[in-house]
């Protein structure tokens, strides 16, 4: 799930934090710039792991801040295809499920990747919500809102930033994980805990 990536970046360090030790000041600036942001094809930046080198410290004319070139390692969240991850259900509608990890919420399971055969049952309480039920032989397994769901990563996409967006569309997601539930052992953990003994 997590990888280390080495990045070099030139950044401005504003004068008000220069009273702190240099590594700390640069770390604070890097965190402001990168934390919780997605870098295309690298993943979501979680944390600055360490700083390998700092060079420069020049002050350009007309600018009050010092400019440094820093080489540092960053912890990135980038699941590989085929990885099994546990997540919670955020939304469930006619197109499929949307799962969340707390720090990352753009995980979609389209309806065709749900275990076959599944059928959606409209939720009587809310109009757009749909509960998915898996019919395995004679038994019906429900995807409940509270369970921890295990899914397998099918693909990770980084859609290009759109130039214009219509007003009511969803906020732009720079990193989208598509998952599948279509294998033995995937889906809510409660489906497989007791079932394991009976199936084998």
């Amino acid at each position: 799930m997590f990888y280390l990536s080495r990045i070099e970046h030139t950044l401005r360090v504003p004068p008000d934090i220069l009273s702190r030790p240099l590594t700390e000041a640069i770390k604070v600036e890097l965190e402001k710039l990168f934390l919780d942001k997605v870098i295309a094809n690298l993943g979501l930046c979680i944390s600055v792991y360490d700083i390998i080198s700092i060079e420069g410290g020049f002050i350009f004319p007309g600018d009050g801040a010092a400019t440094y070139t820093a080489v540092f390692t960053m912890i990135m969240f980038r699941p590989f295809v085929g990885e099994i991850i546990s997540a919670k259900v955020k939304e469930s509608d006619a197109n499929g499920l949307r799962l969340t990890l707390g720090f990352f919420e753009d995980i979609y399971i389209p309806a065709n990747f749900l275990p076959d055969p599944s059928r959606p049952e409209p939720d009587p309480r809310k109009r757009d919500r749909v509960t998915w039920i898996w019919e395995f032989g004679e038994q019906k397994y429900v995807i409940d809102g509270e369970d921890e769901i295990r899914f397998q990563v099918h693909s990770v996409n980084y859609p290009p930033i759109p130039v214009e967006q219509p007003k009511e569309s969803k906020p732009f997601a720079p990193m989208v994980i598509t998952g599948s539930l279509d294998c033995d052992g995937l889906g809510p953990v409660s489906w497989w805990d007791g079932a394991d003994e009976s199936e084998e």
């Binding site: 099994i84 990890l101 497989w192």
Partner: protein, 163 residues
């Protein structure tokens, strides 16, 4: 910004968790003091509920030693450690061509996982929920006592004013 090396090493969940802990993340509710950003806290909250929260380097090294004979890919071992595969179903899911490569060794592998890696925190989570419920009822009791004292004071005031 230049990317020098996109993949400088994979990290298991428990390593990221230990890194965040060493930065000062913890479970207690007063989180303003630590040097940890709110987005890092979200990662910490997620990891603390998985099987990675009790793993140590020694456990994992021991597990790696015992796994060498099964000839698993690095990604497969990482996956097994991260979700603590405790049943054969999970091993089949993670390892490609499991029948051909492991065959009957799957049960042995499941036993090794159960022996070496500490179990996932399923019960402690419910204990925490019970503790929070206890704290809430305790708070309610204190509030009720304060509310109860109010009306008792008012009747004392009235007789003094009228007389």
């Amino acid at each position: 910004m230049k990317i020098l090396e996109a993949n400088a090493g994979a990290l298991a969940n428990f390593e990221v968790l230990n890194f965040l802990k060493s930065k000062g993340a913890s479970k207690d509710p007063t989180r303003v003091l630590a040097d940890v950003a709110p987005s890092e806290y979200k990662v910490y909250d997620y990891l603390v509920e998985t099987a990675a929260c009790d793993q140590t380097k020694e456990n994992v090294n021991e597990f790696l030693e015992k796994c060498k004979k099964y000839d698993l890919a690095k990604a497969e071992v990482l996956n097994i450690i991260n979700i603590r595969a405790s049943t054969a179903v999970e091993i089949y899911l993670i390892v490609e061509d499991c029948e051909k490569r492991l065959g009957d060794d799957v049960d042995e592998l499941v036993k090794t996982v159960a022996e070496v890696l500490p179990p996932a925190p399923t019960e402690p989570a419910s204990e925490e929920v019970n503790n929070e419920a206890d704290e809430k009822t305790a708070d309610q009791n204190i509030n009720e006592q304060l509310v109860g004292e109010g009306p008792e004071k008012a009747p004392d005031k009235e007789p003094i004013e009228t007389s």
